[in-house]
Symmetry: C2
Subunit: 104 residues, 2 copies
């Protein structure tokens, strides 16, 4: 399993609407993606427009090819894209170590 | 519960040694910290010197005051600090949404 971590900056003052939109995008669109094994969204305390989206995938190709080049990507971006202040910064990660109970 | 997310850049070519060092620092030092409820370390695929450390705390004060101003901080930094290419960038986050099984 690999981790996608996306840094998202939204426009000021839209936190409540974005919280609703990304929750809806995850539960209605991302949940259909091949190889998608889980997700988490956190919002910044010091930086209220900063969000970190983490998605767990079976393989990097499930994200980069199956999802990004497939029909779900446009639906996903239609819901959350209007909130972005700048393009998200996205990279992938392997697990080094975690405590009991933490996700990969 | 709040999330601490630290962006770490290490010096090139030291991944294996850093993997061992941060695992040891978490299990021998961080595990003693008041209010520390779990942790995870991921390493970059596209950016091999990039690490993301996530620590779950009961409160932000457990991190900022109890840990950073307490005796464990020097022990923690003595183990992992020598690997840093630049000072880590650290912020705190609240949970927006997660799938079943993902950590806060």
């Amino acid at each position: 399993m690999i981790l996608e971590l996306a840094e998202i900056r939204i426009k000021p003052g839209q936190q409540a609407a974005f919280d609703e939109a990304i929750t809806r995008a995850l539960t209605t669109v991302m949940s259909q993606a091949k190889g998608m094994r889980g997700y988490k969204v956190n919002k910044g305390i010091e930086s209220p427009e900063r969000y970190v989206l983490q998605i767990f995938w079976d393989t990097i190709e499930n994200h980069n090819v199956d999802f990004r080049e497939g029909p779900l990507f446009a639906q996903w971006r239609a819901i959350i894209g209007p909130f972005f202040a700048s393009p998200p910064f996205v990279e992938h990660f392997d697990l080094v170590v975690k405590s009991d109970g933490a996700s990969a």
